[in-house]
Amino acid sequence: MGVMKIDGFPVEFTDEPNILSVIRKAGIDLPTLCYHSELSIYGACRLCTVEDDKGRMFASCSEQPRDGLSIRTSTPRLVRYRRMLIELMLASHHRDCTTCVKNGDCELQNLAHRLGVNSVPWGYRERKYERDFSSPSIVRDPDKCILCGDCVRVCEGIQGINAIDFAHRGTDAMVIPAFNKKIADTDCVNCGQCRVVCPTGAISINTNIRPVWEALADPNIKVFAQVAPAVRVAAGQAFGGPRGENVMGKIVAALHRLGFDEVYDTTFGADMTILEESKEFLEIFEKGGPFPLLTSCCPAWVSFCEKRWPEFVPNISTSYSPLQMLGSVAREYYKDPKNNEGKKILSVAIMPCTAKKAEILREDLKRDGKQNVDYVLTTEEMITMIKRAGIEFDALESEAADMPFGIGSGGGVIFGNSGGVMEAALRTLCEGPDRPAIEKLRQSGVRGPGPLREFTFNYKGNEIKAAVVSGLGEADALLQRIKNGESFYHFVEIMACRRGCIMGGGQPAHAGFRTKEARKHGLYESDVNTQIKKSNENPTALALYDTLIKGREHELLHKHKHAS
């Protein structure tokens, strides 16, 4: 507690961890390239440097606020200093900005512009390193790296993986996998959090726009898309809309205009996942084990489990993820000549996730050697396509998703939030009148802040111990506690990305605290506005059990054998 002076104005502070946070609270957007509030403090970029009364300069991210301290944030000396820092970074940066994937969305480029860097007095740096296209999810371009270390800290500190790290030193320093291996040959789980925090084009999404676009133009191919829950609360902001607003209607309209023949809602697939997963859970619960049942929707988590915790792989639910559910059922549906109109079918999924690009390629998820979904496009790629086509997104009239896979329950839509899968699953087990039961579950602890939530749920007089965890580092610690016998749960939901899919590796980057909160509330609000709350009351999903998938649940909705 205390009062600081910032540029002559008194500013109160309470529990801010550093001076930078106080400055930002005071409404001054001090530039940074290496500061993320959820990561450890690194102090590498020096852009947040401020000056005190005695002319002493220090990085405001690395100092605690003190009562009576008086600082200035943009003296002529600081402005000069910051400009030089950017000039130096640009000097060792491969500056092909006009053709860079990150052009227009690059934090380094934005800061250069904002700080008035009009020339770089030290020549031009040619490409020195090869790009790494080995991963289906991300592309590494070391020539664009400014060594801020954000990716290293998110991969190691939050995700507990450490697939990449600093290597060598001085002018040779780089961020690379051990022994300069390809990223696909490391423990990388494709979560894409490195690309979310990367301020430049050093790590970007491995895009599949081109083949999809070609298929859209081909009259002999019927192209359909499914849109994941988290996409609808993240896309609007890219077109000038408010944070976290559900723009599913406009997304459907835009995709129709891009040439997609049908646009389905992955929320439907989520309901199918819940139907199968809760059945699976009840079976295990009544049988008395083995516990815990671990959720299967998040491919980065599944990959992490296989690489780090093979002993827990048998605990993972065999139910398909929502994407696979819809993909599998739709594939079956389009086998009927009535539905495919004699055309070839291309199945596309619009996802908040880079790991889904790897999931669709998994051998154990293929049926008869064929993928259930042909291409995954991330939210970012969808936004790029809409912009490229010149579609005025904000002027579009909303359209509803197409049938028969266009209806989803409220339980399905909250899948995009950490805790959503668990809440949707437990909803199907709620007894008594819906409204009070659902409300009671909502307040049970399944929602809330923080990466780990533990709570209990009463089912027919028995207590279900449940946990919800997001971030693989946190999941790693939880599994260790389970293994040590320190914790016990019947059912655990694990999502690789902190806060869940709304903060997935394929979502628009630069999301601050307010955007994260808005996306979360956006999904919860969509649930509130949905008439069908429970996945097991989704009429279109239930109807399928009597028709298309009758007697074929295991074949069409479950992973056949765990790869181990």
Binding site: E156, N162, D165, F166, A167, A178, F179, D187
Partner: protein
């Protein structure tokens, strides 16, 4: 694939240190002392044993010039190119060594695995400038001709043993 003997030797070294992150540098030091270099296959092995990722071990090992992932020669000649040695003409010494041995800035080790020539930033022997080290032995006040003689001497020494 490394010979089994490398792993048993590594085990011997690993057993002397607590299986903790902080043992990393002393362990790779000993491995390097044993083999004149750090066989790349051993790094993940060490990392796993002390409970860190191979990425972290690589990050540390690649940071230090002293650690090498390439096999080195029997004689490692480290030519000092610190300020004092540099102004007292260490570069002609380095150039002579390289031309004598057919080495370059890119190629540090002779094909017969007898010599490795490197530069170091300072040997802390500035009063003896220009200086170089052969393995653990310092040679003071070097000249290009003395370098030629040194190579001859070392060759003879190698032939004897």
């Amino acid at each position: 694939m490394l010979d089994e003997s490398f792993y048993s030797k590594a085990d011997e070294i690993l057993n002397r240190y607590p299986a903790q992150e902080r043992s990393l540098i002393p362990i790779i030091h000993e491995i390097q002392e044993t083999y004149n270099y750090v066989p790349v296959e051993l790094l993940p092995y060490v990392a796993k044993h002390i409970g860190i990722t191979e990425t972290k071990a690589y990050s540390v090992a690649s940071f230090y010039e002293r650690f090498s992932f390439e096999p080195k020669g029997k004689f490692i000649i480290r030519v000092c190119d610190g300020t004092a040695c540099h102004v007292r003409q260490s570069l002609p010494v380095l150039e002579r060594l390289r031309s004598e041995l057919g080495l370059s800035e890119k190629k540090h080790t002779t094909d017969d695995m007898l010599f490795t020539v490197e530069t170091v930033s300072c040997l802390g022997a500035c009063s003896l400038a220009p200086a170089l080290m052969v393995n653990e032995h310092v040679h003071p006040a070097m000249t290009p001709d003395k370098a030629t003689a040194l190579v001859k001497e070392l060759r003879e020494e190698a032939a004897k043993s």
